[in-house]
């Protein structure tokens, strides 16, 4: 229909790019999400530089459970530590854990998915059934079981969440690769005698990875929630380690006496997760032509 025609004077690629940018800038919510995400990443990176990590271990009992004041903007916790400082220090662990988890899941998921789709046959069949099994156990429950089997500890918790997360990426990438391998250039490369692995790693994966990357941005928020949740239940970090879920576990005992101990760390988790979700949502909207109108 002519209503959908774009000016023919522009080259399609430039028109497309302009259109995507136009949509991205038009959406202020996404912009805010992106800005906060970047802010959070910077905070996590420079937190231990601007605030001495010793703050986490310096206990000052006379000043415990002080309400928010000009000296302590967010109050103090049950060890007398400044809550704002502790929250800033905590973001590093939560953010880096989430990044490690998503990164590892991407690596595993993308490789398995690419081979599954490209090789096909028995291997593909087996991989898909394995992902079916993973999808039939609620993610957090499986992570809990794996973490329990591995034993407590930060590394074990991270491993447990990684184990739960990869099948999603495998599925997405497999589907994309199945479509991609029908394209002519793959046949051309094969006829040139280039090996399978090389074609997959050098050509197929780079051509199909973008939707998976978008999905991983969207998943970051959820991973942070899972990590903090399992941490809240007692996995992962020990009592004095600055971590947001853990802070809420401690605060829970003082919920009516010192509600800020629960409210602020939780709010921090909410804001971080929300920022990543807003950013991921916006990127997906812009990249998905079906949602444009």
């Amino acid at each position: 229909m002519m209503a959908l025609q774009r000016p023919s004077s522009w080259s399609p690629a430039i028109a497309e790019l302009k259109f995507a940018l136009h949509l991205l800038l038009q959406n202020k919510v996404v912009l805010v999400g992106t800005v906060i995400s970047v802010g959070v990443l910077i905070t996590a990176a420079i937190g231990p530089i601007i605030i001495s990590p010793e703050v986490a271990t310096s206990i000052y009992l006379p000043g415990r459970l002080d309400p928010p004041s000009s000296a302590h903007w967010l109050g103090t916790d049950d060890y007398g530590r400044d809550l704002l400082q502790i929250i800033i220090l905590s973001t590093r662990l939560d953010i880096s854990a989430a990044l490690i988890i998503v990164g590892a899941d991407l690596l595993i998921g993308v490789l398995l998915g690419a081979f599954s789709g490209f090789v096909g046959g028995k291997f593909d069949e087996v991989m898909m059934r394995i992902t079916d099994i993973f999808f039939s156990i609620p993610g957090l429950v499986l992570a809990l079981a794996v973490a329990a089997a591995l034993g407590r500890g930060l590394n074990n918790l991270i491993v447990a969440i990684i184990i739960v997360g990869w099948p999603g990426y495998t599925r997405i990438l497999r589907g994309l690769v199945l479509a991609e391998k029908e394209r002519l250039y793959v046949d051309a490369l094969r006829s040139l005698g280039i090996g399978r692995f090389r074609i997959i790693l050098r050509h197929v994966i780079p051509n199909t990875i973008y939707p998976v990357l978008v999905q991983s941005t969207l998943d970051l928020g959820g991973i942070i929630l899972t990590f903090a949740g399992l941490s809240f239940l007692g996995f992962g970090a020990t009592a004095l380690t600055p971590e947001l879920g853990r802070l809420i576990t401690t605060g829970q005992s003082y919920i009516f006496q010192a509600p800020w101990l629960v409210a602020f760390p939780g709010l921090a988790i909410l804001i971080i997760s929300l920022a990543f979700n807003l950013m991921g949502d916006g990127i997906r909207d812009v990249l998905d032509p079906r949602l444009r109108r």
Binding site: M1, M2, A3, Q5, R6, P7, S8, F19
Partner: protein, 363 residues
């Protein structure tokens, strides 16, 4: 024929309708003062290339334009009432009782999760008065065959279930009218269980169900196989003999027009450029574009080296050509064509044309 008598036997008058689509790239000037009329009982063909505004014209008549379209000028009169000035509810009633439209692709236009019966009976259920009349008429029939099993005639049950029964009976009638072999079974089937031709018959049945004064068929054979096309055209011919209403047949196929229509309007880039009786138009096409269309029809009895086409392409309607929108493709264009838009001009025997070649008594 004077224009006064023409207005008298007009069913639908489309007067100088202008319509824009608002798009990201700019305003698409899709209809540029479209004017024509459909007489009572006649079949008018509306022909032109895809994208020339035929379908948009039809959607404007029934008030089903997409949200980004707006009519900036003009009026559409159905028996004297302006459809464009109606409220949503008024135009909805017109669609329910007076103007019925059949669309191009029966695969996408039928609801996949409702049975043919559900989609057909709902049309009858809109008109409870008619249902009551039919119920009264058929009651005799029902009671005559009452020995078998029907109890609805004897015990006055819920009005709604009664209505549904009547609607079902009418649905079966109308499905037989469109020559479906087993209407009872078809009612229970879902669209995906039917062939393309059967689906198109069902969509036609949904239009006939309203007993429309104006029947609009928008490229209804385009999405079908050639053999099925022939069957549907045969059905249309048959229906045309039976029905009293007018038909607006939208197509890009001049062959279809020749077979089914009394008059033809040729459309180009949002304008009606020529309007005449079918025989007159085929015998004496005046507009250079119409002449081009005629030459582009493949003919069995005329030997040709290659099929002729009209040079150039459909213009960009965001920045339409000045003056006559056809001038960049017209072999006879002269200075005036670039400057001034030609008006529809009466050239005799109900033949009108919008072209500067025939202005100022030249024809």
């Amino acid at each position: 024929m004077s224009s006064a008598t023409e207005k008298n036997d007009a069913l639908l008058q489309v007067n100088n309708v202008r319509l824009d689509f608002h798009t990201y790239a700019g305003e698409v000037k899709a209809l540029d003062g479209v004017t024509f009329l459909v007489k009572k009982g006649e079949a008018l063909g509306l022909v032109g290339e895809s994208g020339c505004g035929k379908s948009v014209t039809a959607l404007t008549i029934v008030g089903l334009l997409p949200e980004n379209a707006s009519v900036t000028e003009g009026e559409i009169l159905l028996a004297g009432e302006n459809l464009l000035a109606m409220t949503h509810d008024q135009i909805r009633k017109v669609r329910a009782n007076k103007i019925a439209m059949v669309f191009q692709d029966p695969t996408t236009f039928l609801n996949p999760v409702l049975t043919i019966g559900e989609q057909l009976e709902e049309v009858f259920l809109l008109n409870s008065e008619r249902l009551a009349n039919v119920a009264a008429e058929r009651k005799i029939e029902v009671e005559a065959g009452k020995e078998e099993q029907d109890t609805s005639g004897a015990a006055p049950k819920l009005a709604r279930s009664r209505q549904k029964k009547v609607a079902k009976a009418l649905s079966i009638d109308v499905l037989s009218q469109v020559r479906l072999a087993d209407p009872e079974r078809t009612l229970k089937q879902y669209p995906h269980e039917l062939s393309g031709g059967m689906r198109q018959r069902c969509m036609i049945a949904m239009a006939l169900a309203r007993n429309p004064v104006l029947f609009i068929a928008d490229e209804i054979t385009t999405a079908l196989d050639v053999t099925i096309q022939a069957q549907i055209l045969e059905l249309l011919r048959e229906l045309k003999r039976q029905l009293s209403g007018s038909t607006l047949l939208i197509t890009h196929d001049l062959g279809v027009v020749a077979e089914l229509c009394d008059r033809v309007a040729v459309m180009y880039a949002g304008n009606i450029i020529e309007l005449a009786d079918v025989k007159e138009l085929f015998a004496n096409p005046l507009h250079p574009y119409t002449q081009g269309l005629m030459r582009a029809i493949p003919m069995i009895d005329r030997r040709m080296e290659r099929l002729e086409t009209i040079p150039g392409s459909v213009p960009d309607l965001i920045y339409p050509p000045s003056g006559c929108r056809f001038h960049p493709r017209c072999p006879f264009a002269f200075e005036k064509c670039k400057l001034e838009k030609p008006e529809l001009l009466h050239v005799g025997k109900g033949h009108t044309v919008a072209c500067h070649l025939y202005g100022e008594g030249k024809a």
